[in-house]
């Protein structure tokens, strides 16, 4: 699933990553727990999170996450945007809740990280 498709499905604002809209995401993960994101490789993974802090961006960069979507319409602080831009990490904001946002992506074929690992 491309970043562009994710943006459409989630009716999301693209805050960082205009030039990466054609990037293909292999799997998705939803978590507010940074410790969970730090377990296992996250290459090609889009992460949905309700946590709107700088640590989401830093954790994503460290874990190798491919894109971050903030749920429930959360708007990132300027410093988060600057960090995402500095690390070329696409950052989106969707009005949907975590459950609904994950469901909308899953229904269209995006699978969880455990699916990716078992393939």
């Amino acid at each position: 699933m491309t970043l562009s498709e994710i943006k459409e499905l989630l009716k999301a604002d693209l805050i960082v990553g205009e030039h990466k809209l054609e990037m293909v995401l292999q799997a998705g993960a939803g978590s507010d727990l940074m410790s969970d994101l730090l377990r296992g490789p996250k290459d090609g993974v889009v992460v949905l999170s309700g946590l709107n802090t700088l640590q989401v961006i830093r954790t994503a960069v460290i874990a190798g996450v491919a894109a971050v979507v903030l749920v429930r319409g959360k708007r990132p602080e300027p410093e988060m945007i600057a960090q995402a831009r500095a690390h070329d990490l696409p950052l989106l904001s969707t009005p949907f809740t975590m459950f609904t946002a994950c469901g909308r992506l899953f229904r269209q074929g995006l699978r969880g990280v455990e699916q990716k690992l078992s393939e």
Partner: protein
């Protein structure tokens, strides 16, 4: 493989800057040209250890050493120390505050995750004496 030693300061309870040192370490390891899986393991360990100092420790330092044997991430802080290292290594054991949990940390996964990702982990600490965490990654003959 170039030899490198570089130290970074960590400030306790600085949740704004917390993690920045590990991002710098990740950048250095990328510049040196290690393989992506090793960089990820080392960066994750550095980040877990750095956030431990930010959350639980006092001010501290991280020293990154790279040589022909591998990568060493050495973290020292002047905080209250780890009272029971065996307990701290158990998944789910945490002394984090509500504020720290709200930041997405403090699930008791930090040290166990370091242990899982590193080739070697040494922890020296006594109550009131700070903590010293040494994390080792060995370079293998196939290049790591």
């Amino acid at each position: 493989m170039p030899h490198l030693t570089k130290s970074f300061a960590i400030k306790a309870r600085d949740y704004i800057r917390g993690g920045d040192v590990s991002i710098q370490i990740q950048g250095l390891l990328k510049t040196i040209g290690f393989d992506a899986a090793l960089i990820r393991r080392a960066s994750v360990c550095a980040y877990e250890a750095e956030m431990n100092v930010v959350m639980h420790g006092g001010d501290g330092t991280v020293t990154l050493t790279v040589d022909t044997d591998g990568i060493v991430i050495d973290v020292k802080d002047e905080g209250p120390g780890i009272e029971n290292i065996e307990l701290a290594l158990q998944e789910g054991y945490s002394t984090a505050s509500e504020e720290q949990r709200e930041l997405g940390f403090g699930a008791g996964m930090g040290l166990p995750n370091i242990q899982k990702n590193a080739d070697g982990l040494e922890i020296e600490s006594e109550k009131g004496e700070g903590a010293h965490v040494k994390i080792v990654f060995k370079l293998r003959s196939n290049g790591g």
